[in-house]
């Protein structure tokens, strides 16, 4: 009997499928990935570089292209810090306090994920557009929201709101209050406590949320498209500019611009993976009580 056990095929657990099934499943997954993810990325870069590096880089010397890149950076530069702040505030509130309507608040935070971005954009047109509720008042005071930077920022903030909060809520809930309480009993004031104890505790999760938030803020198309008005050189963000160039059959320029966004996605992905390694380890190290 013992002999039999020692000669049994090793490392095959009961949940493991036969070799044929495994090979089939893995190939299927790889094929799917190649077809829907890797191939498009290759296409983007090969189309962009179709006419050589010179033409590729020349695309970015165009004034409108530069304006689009600048606008995208400005929008992300405003929207991401805002959502960083809102995200911390919301997750702090949800994770550390008990109050009525908490689950409603959690649902509301998820709303931008479940609503079509186009609808999100339309909401702002309805509110701030020329025919909207606040439109006439805004016009009278010379404030432009729709077809201008504020509208684009608003739409982007709305769409990217959940990223930071969703990342932090489970993390903060798991960590509980005791570290904060310990800091308080040692005499730390609220802000001091936040900076020296809470923030270091959530730093990896926070960075991760910010990365995702930033990627989406730069890449958002639907909501921004509705509120921007597509004014070339003024209210065109990078994704919108890609569309314009594409519709003008300027494929090289369109794909060159798209390659920048893709590059951003790849960098985010790499950073996310690195963080996950770091952050997963940090979580594993946390004492289990």
């Amino acid at each position: 009997m013992a002999e039999q056990i020692s000669h049994a095929p090793h490392s095959l657990s009961v949940t493991t499928e036969s070799a044929a099934v495994r090979t089939a499943l893995i190939s299927l997954a790889l094929l799917f990935l190649a077809l829907f993810l890797i191939l498009p990325v290759i296409v983007i870069f090969s189309e962009a570089l179709q006419k050589g590096l010179f033409v590729y880089f020349a695309t970015f010397e165009d004034a409108d292209a530069q304006a689009a890149i600048r606008l995208t950076l400005i929008v992300a530069g405003i929207a991401v810090p805002l959502n960083l702040f809102f995200g911390i505030a919301a997750s702090w509130t949800i994770a550390k306090f008990e109050f009525r309507g908490k689950s409603l608040l959690i649902t509301l935070i998820d709303l931008p994920f479940s609503i079509s971005p186009v609808v999100s954009g339309l909401i702002y047109v309805l509110l701030f557009g020329a025919q909207g509720y606040f439109g006439p008042w805004l016009k009278a005071h010379g404030i432009e929201v729709i077809f201008a930077l504020p509208g684009i920022v608003l739409a982007t903030v709305f769409v990217t709101f959940p990223f930071v909060a969703r990342e932090l809520i489970p993390l903060m809930e798991e960590q509980g209050n005791t570290d904060e309480e310990a800091a308080l009993t040692l005499g730390a004031g609220g802000l001091r406590e936040f900076l020296t104890v809470t923030l270091p505790n959530i730093r990896w999760g926070l960075l991760y949320g910010v990365l995702l938030c930033n990627a989406r803020a730069m890449g958002e198309f639907g909501a921004v498209s509705v509120v921007s008005g597509h004014i070339r050189g003024l209210t065109d963000t990078m994704p919108l500019h890609v569309e314009i160039l594409y519709n003008e059959y300027n494929f090289v320029a369109a794909f060159a611009m798209a390659s920048l966004l893709t590059l951003l996605a790849l960098i985010t992905l790499a950073a996310k993976t690195l963080l996950e390694m770091q952050y997963g380890e940090a979580l594993a190290r946390a004492p289990r009580v």
Binding site: L184, G187, T196, N201, R285
Partner: protein
């Protein structure tokens, strides 16, 4: 620091509420708050710390009414059940935290802080671990670092929440003895919460027993053990068995049968007779003795113990067994009761 808790109530709408608790913590004493889970002992500790605000009642630190003083300003040292060490800081920085957050004018110099931290590390007998991180420490070491961190601010009172709860039995015993010694040396007024009666008796000068949000009794360990104020205290502290009895003013009756027993307590109507194993002697079935049948005999650390079923309802009581006279299982015996306590139902 002498601390007075006066008529404190705290309503949560969940377990752990307090319903009018008053007690004194004497200057320099080591007081245990003992009770089952949900009795409100941790809540009381947190009220003293200022981590909870009482719905009613006041807390005095000496002559100062501290009820409205926020936790940061109370100058207390609190050791949390899971230690709550700051994971991203070295042991040294953890201990120094309370000094670094002092206002600039009160902050000691860097050199002084370093010296104070080293002194504390020596006090908790971990002089060489200053540069390590909490995750590199064992549970017992983390516990000591948490204690050093709480002591760094020279607190007026040291508060410990289930200080040995997360440790294994051996470490727990060592740390207990060590904490007792430390208290002997520093004379630091200390309150700790525990659900372990053995721990409370071994460690504390006085014990306060809480049950369902009320203070059942506070007193020296001897008073608590030898002179319990209620049935709850009697059965919670020490091994106790009890049998339902009636009392006609002089004699005790179990299921209508009178039996001889020495006891204290009110003897009127229905109640229960509470007994410690050492207060029962197993003898023959002479008239007047409480009759029973041996169910089982077990070895304990100290000796042998028998479970005896008494009367028709077969209420089980525990008695210590003379090593020379080990009874047989199923044997009919009589119980001689040297001392017991009657509490009315």
């Amino acid at each position: 620091m002498h601390i007075r808790v006066i008529d404190v109530a705290k309503d949560f709408g969940r377990t752990g509420a307090l319903r009018g608790v008053s007690l004194d913590v004497r200057d320099g004493e080591l007081l245990a708050l003992l009770g089952p889970s949900g009795s409100g002992k941790t809540t009381l500790l947190r009220v003293i710390a200022g981590l909870e605000t009482p719905s009613v009642g006041r807390v005095f630190f000496g002559e100062e009414d501290a009820t409205a003083v926020p936790v940061q300003k109370r100058r207390i040292g609190f050791v949390f059940q899971n230690y709550a060490l700051f994971k991203h800081m070295s042991v040294r920085d953890n201990i120094a935290y309370g000094l670094y957050v002092l206002p600039r004018s009160e902050q000691p110099s860097k050199i002084e802080i370093r010296k104070r931290v080293q002194d504390l590390l020596e006090l908790v007998q971990l002089p060489d671990i200053g540069d390590r991180y909490p995750r590199q420490l064992s549970g017992g070491q983390q516990q000591r670092v948490a204690l050093a961190r709480a002591l760094a601010v020279e607190p007026r009172v040291l508060l410990l929440d289930e200080p040995f709860g997360a440790l294994d039995a051996k470490v727990r015993k060592d740390l207990r003895r060590w904490l007792r010694e430390l208290h002997g040396r520093t004379g630091q007024t200390t309150v700790f919460v525990t659900h372990d009666q053995e721990e409370a008796l071994e460690l504390a000068d006085r014990v306060a027993i809480l049950n369902a949000g009320k203070l059942e009794q506070i007193g020296s360990t001897d008073e608590i053990y030898d002179d319990p104020a209620s049935a709850f205290v009697m059965s919670f502290v020490g091994d106790t068995s009890s049998i339902p009895i009636d009392c006609d003013g002089r004699r005790l009756l179990h299921e209508g049968q009178a039996f001889e027993a020495k006891f204290e307590g009110s003897c009127q109507g229905r109640g229960r007779l509470y007994l410690r194993p050492k207060d029962i002697a197993i003898t023959d079935t002479a008239p007047g003795r409480l009759p029973g049948t041996i169910l089982n005999v077990q070895r304990t650390a100290a000796g042998h113990r028998a479970q005896i079923a008494v009367g028709a309802q077969r209420v089980v009581v525990e008695a210590e067994v003379d090593p020379g006279k080990k009874p047989l299982i199923g044997e009919r015996v009589g119980l001689q009761i040297h001392s017991g306590r009657v509490f009315a139902d």
